[in-house]
């Protein structure tokens, strides 16, 4: 499922021509279009994964797509916890996924 933009729509009409935007996600280069969010541009490139859960390492993508759930949090430049569903891509933007973090002790373990 690559380049899955909906160019033609029976009611909404044809998708407008927009400028290309280059950005990186976890060091890989991607191309999106002006006005796209990080979440939308990634999905259009066939990428659903935006982060790993801090504790379990399970993969996560966007869920609500309108800023309510915080599932889509990524790092943009030095800024942590940026909602990928609310943030527009910009030329040269450096985006990183959230990573699994070291765990000093696990469920049920005591010291």
């Amino acid at each position: 499922m690559t380049n899955s933009r909906i160019v033609h729509h029976p009611i909404l009409g044809r998708l407008q021509e927009r400028g290309k935007i280059h950005f990186t996600f976890d060091d890989n280069e991607y191309i999106g279009y002006e006005g796209e969010t990080i979440a939308a541009a990634m999905l259009a490139n066939g990428e659903r994964v935006l982060r790993s859960h801090e504790e379990s390492g399970n993969l996560r993508g966007f869920y609500c797509n309108i800023g309510h759930c915080m599932e889509c949090r990524v790092t943009v430049g030095n800024q942590k916890t940026v909602r990928a569903c609310l943030s527009l891509i910009e030329e040269g933007m450096i985006v990183n996924s959230g990573k699994k973090l070291p765990t000093p002790f696990k469920k049920g373990e005591t010291l």
């Binding site: 916890t81 973090l101 010291l111």
Partner: protein, 396 residues
């Protein structure tokens, strides 16, 4: 003829009501627990989960905590639902020579009382966490302190109580009550009809005075507000519960050398890693009525205080904040007691910042009181209601 609906009616479904419900039902007493909201909707879901001896005066105060600690450990084995019980110990850190001296005498007194306390020096502190500020001089530790998740604990106690036959009524508010002087039974009016009970336990936390008022009792409990920050899981900062020694100073109302705002809001660092390895960071102490609205100025002040002790966590993310009301009493000890002038009426409230710690012992003791046992697990004198009865006005 009046038909009673329950032998014992426990008003309040916080951690205290839950624990009494559990121990009483387990010992075969017919109990009903009611709450105006949901389980743990009051202070018991707006707090930390520490079960501490480190900050208790040697003597009755610490005996009560240590007995409770033992019971909680037992509960972690006997209750079906887990409540994130851990016993990693806790530490207090000092930022001045003065505090180090006070800490040393605190440790000496605790050791004399036979408790596992120990002083920590600068290098011990560094080993505890690489995130601590370089200028911290040291501190002290109490090896046996434990931590739980307070609302899971409350749920777990409810679950256990129900297992032993307790009845639970939620979203059921007590509006008034009277005692029939002939039968001695309590007629309790709620928004879901009336309940007739032989005995009533007022476990209403900060609302206990309103419930007491219904029978003209003057219960000297006041809400003392506290804020908590939930910070996002990040690199491991430390595994134990950390408090500043100043927390003790402010708890007992002693002089502290801190800036005006920190003093005004009664802010002292309490740092608790949760089981999911987020951080609960507190706290403040204010008398501002029944207001649980989060005040961002207080939150900022707590954050500043945290960064003073852990400068390197300044960029950790805040998930949310909340505020709860500690049920304060004038002598900082709870009321777990029958009420002499009203036979079969009991109070279990006023645990201030220790209700989670003391829930287990309170439940056990109240069960013994309900059974009118002559021997009790701890002495009852210091926590009797009658100690306040000559006090007509309460000062804060």
């Amino acid at each position: 003829m009046e038909r009673r609906n329950t032998e014992v009616l426990i008003i309040g479904g916080g951690v205290i009501g839950a624990s009494i419900g559990y121990y009483a039902a387990k010992s075969g007493i017919e109990v009903t627990i009611i709450d105006k909201g949901d389980i743990a909707c009051g202070t018991s879901s707006r707090c930390d989960g520490n079960i501490l001896a480190i900050d208790k005066e040697p003597g009755f105060d610490s005996q009560m905590s240590l007995e409770s600690q033992k019971l909680v450990k037992q509960l972690s084995k006997e209750l079906d639902l887990e409540f994130e019980y851990r016993a990693p110990g806790s530490i207090l850190v000092c930022e001045s020579e003065e505090e180090m001296i006070a800490a040393q005498s605190w440790v000496d007194r605790q050791k004399k009382a036979g408790l596992s306390f120990k002083m920590l020096d600068r290098s011990d502190i560094k080993q505890e966490s690489p995130y601590f500020a370089d200028d911290l001089l040291g501190g002290l530790e109490c090896e046996t302190d434990s931590t739980i998740n307070p609302y899971l604990f409350t749920y777990s106690l409810f679950h256990g109580a129900i297992h032993y036959g307790a009845k639970v009524k939620l979203r059921c508010e007590v509006k008034g009550m009277r005692r029939n002087s002939e039968t001695g039974l309590f007629h309790v009016n709620t928004d879901q009809g009336s309940i007739i009970a032989k005995k009533v336990v007022n476990a209403g936390g900060v609302w206990a005075p309103y419930i007491g008022n219904m029978l003209d009792l003057n219960i000297p409990i006041k809400p003392r507000k506290g804020h908590i920050i939930v910070a996002s899981r990040n690199m491991p900062v430390g595994m134990r519960k950390v408090m500043e020694f100043g927390y003790l100073m402010s708890k007992f109302g002693k002089e502290r050398t801190v800036d005006e705002e920190t003093d005004k809001y009664g802010v002292a660092l309490v740092f608790e890693p949760t089981e999911s390895q987020n951080f609960l960071i507190g706290s403040s102490r204010e008398f501002v009525g029944f207001n649980t609205k989060v005040d961002l100025d207080v939150v900022n002040c707590i954050a500043r205080r945290t960064i003073r002790f852990y400068p390197k966590i300044a960029d950790f993310l805040l998930i949310r904040t909340y505020a709860g009301l500690r049920p304060w009493t004038p002598d900082h000890l709870p009321i777990v007691s029958p009420v002499e002038q009203i036979p079969n009426y009991y109070i279990a409230a006023g645990h201030e910042g220790d209700g989670i710690s003391l829930a287990a012992i309170t439940g056990k003791l109240m069960t013994e009181l309900l059974q009118e046992k002559s021997e009790t697990i701890i002495p009852t004198h210091p926590i009797r209601f009658s100690r306040f009865q000559n006090v007509s006005t309460i000062q804060t």
